[in-house]
Amino acid sequence: MQSVQDVETHSWDAGKAALPAWSLPKDAVDLIALPTEWPEQVTREWALEGASGKGVRVCILDSGVDPSHPSVGGLDSAVAISIDDNDEIVAVEDTEGDVSGHGTACAGIVRRLAPEASISSVRVLGASFTGSGNVLLGGLRYAIEQDFDVINMSLSTTKKPFASVLHELADSAYFKRTVLVASAHNMPVESYPWRFSSVISVGSHEEPDPLAFFYNPSPPVEFFGRGVNVEVPWLGGRTLSVSGNSFATPHITSICALVLSKHPELTPFQLKSVLYLTANNVGGGR
Protein backbone atom coordinates (compact mmCIF):
# COMPACT_ATOMS: atom_id res chain seq x y z
CA MET A 1 0.00 0.00 0.00
CA GLN A 2 1.30 3.39 -0.89
CA SER A 3 0.28 6.70 0.60
CA VAL A 4 -0.23 9.50 -1.85
CA GLN A 5 1.79 12.56 -0.94
CA ASP A 6 1.10 16.13 -1.75
CA VAL A 7 2.22 16.67 -5.28
CA GLU A 8 2.50 20.42 -4.89
CA THR A 9 6.03 19.92 -3.62
CA HIS A 10 7.00 19.10 -7.18
CA SER A 11 5.88 22.34 -8.65
CA TRP A 12 9.30 23.92 -8.16
CA ASP A 13 11.15 21.25 -10.10
CA ALA A 14 11.19 23.46 -13.15
CA GLY A 15 13.49 25.81 -11.30
CA LYS A 16 15.97 23.21 -10.15
CA ALA A 17 18.65 24.41 -12.56
CA ALA A 18 21.24 26.55 -10.80
CA LEU A 19 19.57 29.84 -11.50
CA PRO A 20 18.21 32.55 -9.26
CA ALA A 21 14.46 32.14 -8.94
CA TRP A 22 12.49 33.24 -11.97
CA SER A 23 15.20 35.28 -13.70
CA LEU A 24 17.99 34.75 -16.21
CA PRO A 25 21.31 36.49 -15.59
CA LYS A 26 23.34 37.45 -18.65
CA ASP A 27 26.03 34.81 -18.07
CA ALA A 28 23.51 32.01 -17.54
CA VAL A 29 22.00 31.90 -21.00
CA ASP A 30 24.04 28.82 -21.90
CA LEU A 31 22.47 26.95 -19.00
CA ILE A 32 19.12 26.93 -20.73
CA ALA A 33 20.36 25.98 -24.19
CA LEU A 34 17.77 23.73 -25.78
CA PRO A 35 18.89 20.24 -26.76
CA THR A 36 16.75 20.04 -29.87
CA GLU A 37 17.86 21.04 -33.34
CA TRP A 38 14.63 22.52 -34.65
CA PRO A 39 14.03 22.10 -38.37
CA GLU A 40 13.27 25.03 -40.59
CA GLN A 41 9.71 23.80 -40.73
CA VAL A 42 8.14 21.49 -38.16
CA THR A 43 6.42 18.80 -40.18
CA ARG A 44 4.42 15.69 -39.32
CA GLU A 45 7.34 13.67 -40.69
CA TRP A 46 9.80 15.37 -38.29
CA ALA A 47 7.38 15.13 -35.41
CA LEU A 48 6.39 11.49 -35.42
CA GLU A 49 7.25 9.51 -38.53
CA GLY A 50 8.83 6.19 -37.58
CA ALA A 51 7.93 6.65 -33.92
CA SER A 52 6.47 3.77 -31.94
CA GLY A 53 5.95 5.30 -28.52
CA LYS A 54 9.01 3.47 -27.21
CA GLY A 55 10.32 4.89 -23.96
CA VAL A 56 7.17 6.88 -23.22
CA ARG A 57 5.13 6.07 -20.12
CA VAL A 58 1.39 6.54 -20.61
CA CYS A 59 -1.12 6.46 -17.76
CA ILE A 60 -4.79 5.63 -18.32
CA LEU A 61 -6.69 7.37 -15.51
CA ASP A 62 -10.07 5.69 -15.84
CA SER A 63 -12.16 2.65 -14.91
CA GLY A 64 -9.18 0.29 -14.86
CA VAL A 65 -7.79 -1.72 -17.75
CA ASP A 66 -8.22 -5.41 -18.58
CA PRO A 67 -4.59 -6.42 -19.23
CA SER A 68 -5.57 -9.81 -20.62
CA HIS A 69 -7.32 -8.41 -23.69
CA PRO A 70 -5.09 -9.15 -26.70
CA SER A 71 -5.54 -5.60 -27.99
CA VAL A 72 -4.16 -4.21 -24.74
CA GLY A 73 -1.16 -6.51 -24.59
CA GLY A 74 -0.38 -6.15 -20.90
CA LEU A 75 0.28 -3.27 -18.54
CA ASP A 76 3.40 -2.00 -16.81
CA SER A 77 1.45 -1.33 -13.63
CA ALA A 78 -2.11 -1.07 -12.38
CA VAL A 79 -3.35 0.54 -9.18
CA ALA A 80 -6.78 1.27 -7.76
CA ILE A 81 -7.35 4.51 -5.88
CA SER A 82 -9.69 4.59 -2.91
CA ILE A 83 -10.37 6.53 0.28
CA ASP A 84 -9.65 4.66 3.51
CA ASP A 85 -11.44 4.93 6.87
CA ASN A 86 -9.30 7.93 7.80
CA ASP A 87 -10.25 9.75 4.59
CA GLU A 88 -6.73 9.19 3.28
CA ILE A 89 -6.27 8.54 -0.42
CA VAL A 90 -4.54 5.21 -0.97
CA ALA A 91 -3.26 3.44 -4.07
CA VAL A 92 -3.21 -0.36 -4.01
CA GLU A 93 -2.37 -2.87 -6.71
CA ASP A 94 -5.46 -3.30 -8.85
CA THR A 95 -6.49 -6.92 -9.16
CA GLU A 96 -10.01 -6.17 -10.34
CA GLY A 97 -9.15 -4.93 -13.82
CA ASP A 98 -11.79 -2.80 -15.50
CA VAL A 99 -15.16 -2.05 -13.89
CA SER A 100 -16.85 -0.74 -17.04
CA GLY A 101 -14.76 -1.46 -20.15
CA HIS A 102 -13.98 2.18 -20.87
CA GLY A 103 -10.39 2.18 -19.61
CA THR A 104 -9.66 -0.96 -21.62
CA ALA A 105 -10.96 0.81 -24.72
CA CYS A 106 -8.66 3.79 -24.12
CA ALA A 107 -5.65 1.51 -23.51
CA GLY A 108 -6.42 -0.38 -26.72
CA ILE A 109 -6.37 2.82 -28.76
CA VAL A 110 -2.98 3.78 -27.30
CA ARG A 111 -1.58 0.28 -27.90
CA ARG A 112 -2.75 0.35 -31.52
CA LEU A 113 -1.28 3.75 -32.37
CA ALA A 114 1.80 3.76 -30.14
CA PRO A 115 2.51 0.03 -29.86
CA GLU A 116 5.76 0.28 -27.90
CA ALA A 117 4.58 2.81 -25.34
CA SER A 118 4.48 1.67 -21.73
CA ILE A 119 0.87 1.66 -20.49
CA SER A 120 -0.18 1.83 -16.85
CA SER A 121 -3.63 1.99 -15.31
CA VAL A 122 -4.76 4.15 -12.41
CA ARG A 123 -8.34 3.21 -11.58
CA VAL A 124 -10.45 5.99 -10.07
CA LEU A 125 -13.88 4.48 -10.64
CA GLY A 126 -15.82 1.64 -9.09
CA ALA A 127 -14.61 1.65 -5.49
CA SER A 128 -17.56 3.66 -4.26
CA PHE A 129 -19.86 6.09 -5.95
CA THR A 130 -19.90 8.49 -3.04
CA GLY A 131 -16.70 10.47 -2.94
CA SER A 132 -15.86 9.65 -6.52
CA GLY A 133 -14.70 13.25 -7.02
CA ASN A 134 -12.12 12.89 -4.26
CA VAL A 135 -10.95 9.60 -5.70
CA LEU A 136 -10.55 11.28 -9.09
CA LEU A 137 -8.43 14.02 -7.54
CA GLY A 138 -6.41 11.49 -5.56
CA GLY A 139 -5.84 9.41 -8.67
CA LEU A 140 -4.64 12.37 -10.67
CA ARG A 141 -2.37 13.45 -7.82
CA TYR A 142 -0.95 9.94 -7.64
CA ALA A 143 -0.43 9.74 -11.41
CA ILE A 144 1.42 13.07 -11.47
CA GLU A 145 3.67 11.83 -8.65
CA GLN A 146 4.59 8.78 -10.72
CA ASP A 147 6.20 11.00 -13.37
CA PHE A 148 4.24 9.58 -16.27
CA ASP A 149 5.03 11.28 -19.55
CA VAL A 150 1.38 11.40 -20.65
CA ILE A 151 -1.78 11.01 -18.56
CA ASN A 152 -4.93 10.17 -20.49
CA MET A 153 -7.92 11.62 -18.68
CA SER A 154 -11.07 10.75 -20.59
CA LEU A 155 -13.24 12.09 -17.80
CA SER A 156 -14.07 15.29 -16.01
CA THR A 157 -15.95 16.57 -13.02
CA THR A 158 -18.76 19.11 -12.95
CA LYS A 159 -18.21 19.86 -9.27
CA LYS A 160 -16.98 23.44 -8.94
CA PRO A 161 -15.37 22.93 -5.50
CA PHE A 162 -12.89 20.55 -7.17
CA ALA A 163 -11.98 23.00 -9.91
CA SER A 164 -9.30 24.93 -8.01
CA VAL A 165 -7.53 21.78 -6.82
CA LEU A 166 -7.68 20.31 -10.32
CA HIS A 167 -6.27 23.55 -11.66
CA GLU A 168 -3.30 23.34 -9.29
CA LEU A 169 -2.74 19.70 -10.20
CA ALA A 170 -2.92 20.45 -13.92
CA ASP A 171 -0.37 23.26 -13.58
CA SER A 172 1.83 21.05 -11.43
CA ALA A 173 1.82 18.36 -14.12
CA TYR A 174 2.58 20.94 -16.79
CA PHE A 175 5.66 22.25 -15.00
CA LYS A 176 7.07 18.80 -14.26
CA ARG A 177 6.74 17.62 -17.85
CA THR A 178 3.76 15.41 -17.46
CA VAL A 179 1.36 16.03 -20.32
CA LEU A 180 -2.26 15.88 -19.22
CA VAL A 181 -4.57 15.05 -22.13
CA ALA A 182 -8.15 15.70 -21.04
CA SER A 183 -11.46 14.97 -22.68
CA ALA A 184 -13.76 17.92 -23.36
CA HIS A 185 -17.35 17.50 -22.36
CA ASN A 186 -19.78 16.36 -25.05
CA MET A 187 -22.52 18.49 -23.54
CA PRO A 188 -22.64 22.27 -23.04
CA VAL A 189 -21.77 22.20 -19.34
CA GLU A 190 -18.92 23.51 -17.22
CA SER A 191 -16.57 20.72 -16.28
CA TYR A 192 -12.90 20.30 -15.44
CA PRO A 193 -9.94 19.87 -15.97
CA TRP A 194 -10.24 20.09 -19.75
CA ARG A 195 -11.01 23.83 -19.63
CA PHE A 196 -7.60 24.64 -18.16
CA SER A 197 -4.96 25.91 -20.57
CA SER A 198 -2.20 23.80 -18.98
CA VAL A 199 -3.81 20.61 -20.31
CA ILE A 200 -4.31 19.42 -23.87
CA SER A 201 -8.08 19.37 -24.30
CA VAL A 202 -9.71 17.11 -26.85
CA GLY A 203 -13.00 17.02 -28.72
CA SER A 204 -14.11 14.70 -31.54
CA HIS A 205 -13.93 14.83 -35.31
CA GLU A 206 -15.67 12.35 -37.62
CA GLU A 207 -12.76 11.46 -39.92
CA PRO A 208 -11.77 7.76 -39.99
CA ASP A 209 -7.99 8.44 -39.99
CA PRO A 210 -6.73 7.73 -36.44
CA LEU A 211 -3.75 10.05 -36.84
CA ALA A 212 -5.82 12.94 -38.22
CA PHE A 213 -6.15 15.76 -35.72
CA PHE A 214 -7.20 19.37 -35.92
CA TYR A 215 -6.31 22.52 -34.02
CA ASN A 216 -9.30 24.53 -32.82
CA PRO A 217 -8.72 28.29 -33.14
CA SER A 218 -11.74 28.85 -30.87
CA PRO A 219 -10.83 27.33 -27.49
CA PRO A 220 -11.43 26.13 -24.80
CA VAL A 221 -11.31 22.85 -26.77
CA GLU A 222 -7.86 23.01 -28.38
CA PHE A 223 -7.66 19.86 -30.51
CA PHE A 224 -10.02 17.43 -32.21
CA GLY A 225 -9.12 13.75 -32.45
CA ARG A 226 -10.88 10.76 -33.94
CA GLY A 227 -13.90 10.12 -31.75
CA VAL A 228 -16.68 8.60 -33.82
CA ASN A 229 -17.27 4.92 -34.66
CA VAL A 230 -13.91 3.81 -33.29
CA GLU A 231 -13.19 0.10 -32.90
CA VAL A 232 -11.93 -0.64 -29.41
CA PRO A 233 -11.31 -3.60 -27.10
CA TRP A 234 -13.88 -4.05 -24.35
CA LEU A 235 -14.49 -6.45 -21.49
CA GLY A 236 -14.67 -10.17 -22.13
CA GLY A 237 -12.31 -10.05 -25.09
CA ARG A 238 -14.86 -8.16 -27.16
CA THR A 239 -14.26 -5.49 -29.79
CA LEU A 240 -16.84 -2.72 -30.03
CA SER A 241 -17.50 0.39 -32.07
CA VAL A 242 -17.72 3.42 -29.82
CA SER A 243 -18.15 7.19 -30.05
CA GLY A 244 -17.50 10.15 -27.77
CA ASN A 245 -14.85 12.66 -26.82
CA SER A 246 -13.56 10.18 -24.28
CA PHE A 247 -12.31 8.07 -27.21
CA ALA A 248 -10.90 11.04 -29.12
CA THR A 249 -8.71 11.72 -26.10
CA PRO A 250 -6.58 8.53 -26.29
CA HIS A 251 -6.00 9.28 -29.98
CA ILE A 252 -4.34 12.58 -29.04
CA THR A 253 -2.62 10.84 -26.12
CA SER A 254 -1.15 8.37 -28.60
CA ILE A 255 0.01 11.13 -30.93
CA CYS A 256 1.67 12.84 -27.94
CA ALA A 257 3.38 9.53 -27.06
CA LEU A 258 4.65 9.16 -30.63
CA VAL A 259 6.07 12.69 -30.69
CA LEU A 260 7.65 12.31 -27.25
CA SER A 261 9.22 8.98 -28.15
CA LYS A 262 10.99 10.69 -31.03
CA HIS A 263 11.62 13.97 -29.17
CA PRO A 264 11.73 13.16 -25.45
CA GLU A 265 13.16 16.54 -24.56
CA LEU A 266 9.98 18.42 -25.42
CA THR A 267 8.19 20.24 -22.62
CA PRO A 268 4.37 20.23 -22.58
CA PHE A 269 4.45 23.75 -24.03
CA GLN A 270 6.73 22.65 -26.87
CA LEU A 271 4.70 19.51 -27.46
CA LYS A 272 1.50 21.52 -27.72
CA SER A 273 3.26 23.83 -30.18
CA VAL A 274 4.32 20.81 -32.26
CA LEU A 275 0.74 19.54 -32.22
CA TYR A 276 -0.43 22.93 -33.43
CA LEU A 277 2.16 23.10 -36.22
CA THR A 278 1.42 19.57 -37.42
CA ALA A 279 -2.38 19.59 -37.10
CA ASN A 280 -4.24 18.67 -40.28
CA ASN A 281 -5.69 22.15 -40.62
CA VAL A 282 -2.34 23.89 -39.96
CA GLY A 283 0.77 22.21 -41.35
CA GLY A 284 -0.06 18.51 -41.21
CA GLY A 285 -2.17 18.55 -44.32
CA ARG A 286 0.71 19.75 -46.49
Partner: protein, 214 residues
Protein backbone atom coordinates in the same frame (compact mmCIF):
# COMPACT_ATOMS: atom_id res chain seq x y z
CA UNK B 1 -46.64 23.82 15.93
CA UNK B 2 -45.09 22.27 12.86
CA UNK B 3 -41.90 23.90 11.55
CA UNK B 4 -42.27 26.44 8.75
CA UNK B 5 -40.30 24.56 6.07
CA UNK B 6 -42.67 21.63 6.31
CA UNK B 7 -45.68 23.86 5.76
CA UNK B 8 -44.04 25.42 2.74
CA UNK B 9 -43.33 21.94 1.44
CA UNK B 10 -46.97 21.16 2.04
CA UNK B 11 -48.03 24.10 -0.09
CA UNK B 12 -45.56 22.96 -2.74
CA UNK B 13 -46.91 19.44 -2.63
CA UNK B 14 -50.39 20.84 -3.05
CA UNK B 15 -49.66 22.91 -6.13
CA UNK B 16 -46.53 21.81 -7.99
CA UNK B 17 -47.99 18.60 -9.29
CA UNK B 18 -48.00 14.97 -8.37
CA UNK B 19 -45.32 12.35 -8.78
CA UNK B 20 -47.53 10.76 -11.41
CA UNK B 21 -47.50 13.84 -13.60
CA UNK B 22 -43.69 14.05 -13.53
CA UNK B 23 -43.41 10.36 -14.22
CA UNK B 24 -45.64 10.93 -17.23
CA UNK B 25 -43.25 13.69 -18.35
CA UNK B 26 -40.28 11.34 -18.04
CA UNK B 27 -42.14 8.69 -20.02
CA UNK B 28 -42.90 11.24 -22.72
CA UNK B 29 -39.23 12.21 -22.93
CA UNK B 30 -38.00 8.64 -23.36
CA UNK B 31 -40.80 7.95 -25.85
CA UNK B 32 -39.74 10.91 -28.01
CA UNK B 33 -36.06 9.97 -27.64
CA UNK B 34 -36.79 6.44 -28.80
CA UNK B 35 -38.85 7.69 -31.71
CA UNK B 36 -36.35 10.35 -32.88
CA UNK B 37 -33.45 7.87 -32.86
CA UNK B 38 -35.58 5.05 -34.29
CA UNK B 39 -34.43 2.95 -31.34
CA UNK B 40 -35.97 -0.16 -29.81
CA UNK B 41 -35.98 1.13 -26.24
CA UNK B 42 -35.14 4.11 -24.10
CA UNK B 43 -34.94 4.58 -20.36
CA UNK B 44 -34.16 6.99 -17.57
CA UNK B 45 -32.14 5.73 -14.62
CA UNK B 46 -32.15 7.73 -11.41
CA UNK B 47 -29.41 7.68 -8.81
CA UNK B 48 -30.49 6.64 -5.32
CA UNK B 49 -27.73 8.30 -3.30
CA UNK B 50 -28.52 6.45 -0.08
CA UNK B 51 -28.11 2.99 -1.55
CA UNK B 52 -25.71 4.00 -4.35
CA UNK B 53 -27.94 2.30 -6.87
CA UNK B 54 -29.41 3.27 -10.21
CA UNK B 55 -33.18 2.80 -10.47
CA UNK B 56 -35.25 2.57 -13.66
CA UNK B 57 -37.68 5.51 -13.40
CA UNK B 58 -38.99 5.47 -16.96
CA UNK B 59 -38.78 2.77 -19.62
CA UNK B 60 -40.29 2.62 -23.08
CA UNK B 61 -39.99 -0.21 -25.58
CA UNK B 62 -38.28 -3.48 -24.75
CA UNK B 63 -38.40 -4.11 -21.01
CA UNK B 64 -41.04 -1.51 -20.21
CA UNK B 65 -43.21 -4.09 -18.42
CA UNK B 66 -40.50 -5.44 -16.17
CA UNK B 67 -37.69 -2.94 -15.67
CA UNK B 68 -39.51 -0.09 -13.93
CA UNK B 69 -38.23 0.13 -10.37
CA UNK B 70 -35.40 -2.34 -11.01
CA UNK B 71 -32.11 -1.42 -9.31
CA UNK B 72 -28.44 -2.14 -9.84
CA UNK B 73 -25.18 -0.80 -8.33
CA UNK B 74 -24.27 2.69 -9.54
CA UNK B 75 -20.50 2.28 -9.36
CA UNK B 76 -19.96 -0.14 -12.23
CA UNK B 77 -21.10 -0.89 -15.75
CA UNK B 78 -21.57 1.47 -18.64
CA UNK B 79 -24.31 3.54 -16.99
CA UNK B 80 -22.11 3.74 -13.91
CA UNK B 81 -19.22 5.10 -15.98
CA UNK B 82 -21.49 7.68 -17.61
CA UNK B 83 -22.82 8.74 -14.22
CA UNK B 84 -19.46 8.90 -12.45
CA UNK B 85 -17.70 10.74 -15.25
CA UNK B 86 -20.73 12.85 -16.27
CA UNK B 87 -19.82 12.01 -19.84
CA UNK B 88 -21.97 10.67 -22.68
CA UNK B 89 -21.00 7.43 -24.37
CA UNK B 90 -22.10 5.58 -27.49
CA UNK B 91 -21.42 1.88 -27.92
CA UNK B 92 -22.38 -0.57 -30.64
CA UNK B 93 -22.51 -4.35 -30.28
CA UNK B 94 -22.37 -4.78 -26.56
CA UNK B 95 -24.12 -8.12 -26.78
CA UNK B 96 -21.62 -10.20 -24.87
CA UNK B 97 -20.45 -7.67 -22.37
CA UNK B 98 -21.33 -9.35 -19.08
CA UNK B 99 -21.42 -6.11 -17.13
CA UNK B 100 -23.68 -4.51 -19.65
CA UNK B 101 -26.02 -7.47 -19.50
CA UNK B 102 -26.31 -7.12 -15.75
CA UNK B 103 -27.23 -3.47 -16.22
CA UNK B 104 -30.28 -3.97 -18.31
CA UNK B 105 -31.06 -7.29 -19.71
CA UNK B 106 -31.00 -10.02 -17.10
CA UNK B 107 -34.67 -9.91 -16.23
CA UNK B 108 -36.05 -9.45 -19.70
CA UNK B 109 -33.98 -11.70 -21.90
CA UNK B 110 -33.55 -8.60 -24.07
CA UNK B 111 -29.89 -8.05 -24.87
CA UNK B 112 -29.26 -4.81 -26.78
CA UNK B 113 -26.56 -4.53 -29.43
CA UNK B 114 -26.07 -0.83 -29.05
CA UNK B 115 -26.42 1.83 -26.41
CA UNK B 116 -26.25 5.61 -26.22
CA UNK B 117 -26.08 7.00 -22.71
CA UNK B 118 -25.83 10.54 -21.36
CA UNK B 119 -25.72 11.84 -17.80
CA UNK B 120 -28.62 13.83 -16.37
CA UNK B 121 -26.74 16.89 -15.14
CA UNK B 122 -28.31 19.42 -12.84
CA UNK B 123 -26.29 22.23 -11.26
CA UNK B 124 -23.00 20.50 -10.43
CA UNK B 125 -24.41 17.06 -9.77
CA UNK B 126 -25.48 14.05 -11.82
CA UNK B 127 -29.03 12.87 -11.12
CA UNK B 128 -29.05 9.80 -13.35
CA UNK B 129 -28.58 8.50 -16.87
CA UNK B 130 -30.63 8.65 -20.08
CA UNK B 131 -30.16 5.56 -22.25
CA UNK B 132 -31.26 4.87 -25.82
CA UNK B 133 -30.93 1.23 -26.86
CA UNK B 134 -30.52 -0.28 -30.32
CA UNK B 135 -30.54 2.39 -32.95
CA UNK B 136 -30.98 1.02 -36.49
CA UNK B 137 -27.97 -1.18 -37.25
CA UNK B 138 -27.32 0.24 -40.69
CA UNK B 139 -26.85 3.82 -39.50
CA UNK B 140 -23.41 4.94 -38.38
CA UNK B 141 -23.35 7.22 -35.40
CA UNK B 142 -22.66 10.92 -35.97
CA UNK B 143 -21.77 13.92 -33.83
CA UNK B 144 -25.18 15.45 -34.56
CA UNK B 145 -26.78 12.52 -32.78
CA UNK B 146 -24.49 13.06 -29.81
CA UNK B 147 -25.69 16.63 -29.61
CA UNK B 148 -29.31 15.53 -29.87
CA UNK B 149 -28.76 12.98 -27.11
CA UNK B 150 -27.34 15.75 -24.92
CA UNK B 151 -30.38 17.93 -25.55
CA UNK B 152 -32.71 15.12 -24.52
CA UNK B 153 -30.59 14.48 -21.44
CA UNK B 154 -30.83 18.14 -20.43
CA UNK B 155 -34.59 18.05 -20.80
CA UNK B 156 -34.78 14.83 -18.81
CA UNK B 157 -32.57 16.31 -16.09
CA UNK B 158 -34.99 19.20 -15.60
CA UNK B 159 -37.93 16.78 -15.38
CA UNK B 160 -36.05 14.56 -12.93
CA UNK B 161 -35.21 17.58 -10.80
CA UNK B 162 -38.92 18.46 -10.62
CA UNK B 163 -39.80 14.86 -9.79
CA UNK B 164 -37.26 14.82 -6.97
CA UNK B 165 -38.58 18.11 -5.59
CA UNK B 166 -42.13 16.80 -5.68
CA UNK B 167 -41.00 13.65 -3.88
CA UNK B 168 -39.19 15.67 -1.25
CA UNK B 169 -42.27 17.84 -0.73
CA UNK B 170 -44.43 14.71 -0.36
CA UNK B 171 -41.93 13.21 2.05
CA UNK B 172 -41.87 16.32 4.22
CA UNK B 173 -45.64 16.44 4.08
CA UNK B 174 -45.86 12.87 5.32
CA UNK B 175 -43.35 13.55 8.07
CA UNK B 176 -45.13 16.70 9.21
CA UNK B 177 -48.43 14.93 9.89
CA UNK B 178 -51.93 16.42 10.03
CA UNK B 179 -51.13 20.12 10.28
CA UNK B 180 -49.17 20.22 7.04
CA UNK B 181 -51.66 18.00 5.29
CA UNK B 182 -54.38 20.58 5.96
CA UNK B 183 -52.21 23.29 4.39
CA UNK B 184 -51.56 21.11 1.36
CA UNK B 185 -55.27 20.44 0.91
CA UNK B 186 -55.97 24.15 1.21
CA UNK B 187 -53.34 24.96 -1.42
CA UNK B 188 -54.75 22.31 -3.74
CA UNK B 189 -58.30 23.53 -3.26
CA UNK B 190 -57.49 27.20 -3.92
CA UNK B 191 -55.35 26.27 -6.88
CA UNK B 192 -58.29 24.38 -8.41
CA UNK B 193 -60.69 27.34 -8.19
CA UNK B 194 -61.54 29.37 -11.28
CA UNK B 195 -61.94 33.07 -11.98
CA UNK B 196 -64.05 34.89 -9.39
CA UNK B 197 -64.02 32.02 -6.95
CA UNK B 198 -60.24 31.91 -7.17
CA UNK B 199 -59.98 35.63 -6.59
CA UNK B 200 -62.30 35.34 -3.59
CA UNK B 201 -60.27 32.41 -2.30
CA UNK B 202 -57.04 34.40 -2.37
CA UNK B 203 -58.74 37.37 -0.64
CA UNK B 204 -59.91 35.04 2.08
CA UNK B 205 -56.40 33.64 2.51
CA UNK B 206 -54.99 37.15 2.58
CA UNK B 207 -57.38 38.10 5.40
CA UNK B 208 -56.49 34.90 7.20
CA UNK B 209 -52.77 35.66 6.89
CA UNK B 210 -53.29 39.19 8.29
CA UNK B 211 -55.39 37.83 11.15
CA UNK B 212 -52.62 35.35 11.97
CA UNK B 213 -50.12 38.19 12.10
CA UNK B 214 -48.46 38.39 8.67
Amino acid sequence: MTEQPDLRAAVAAGVVGSEESFRALLSAIVEVARSIFGAKASSILLLDEETEELVFEAVVGEGEDTLLGTRFPAGTGIAGWVLATRTPLVIEDVQNDPRFASDVAEDTGYVPKGLMAAPLLHEDGALGVLSVLDRPEQSLFSLQEMELLGLFANQAAIAVDLLLKAREAERLLGAAGGDAEVVARLATAVNALEDEQREAGFKLLDHLARTLGN
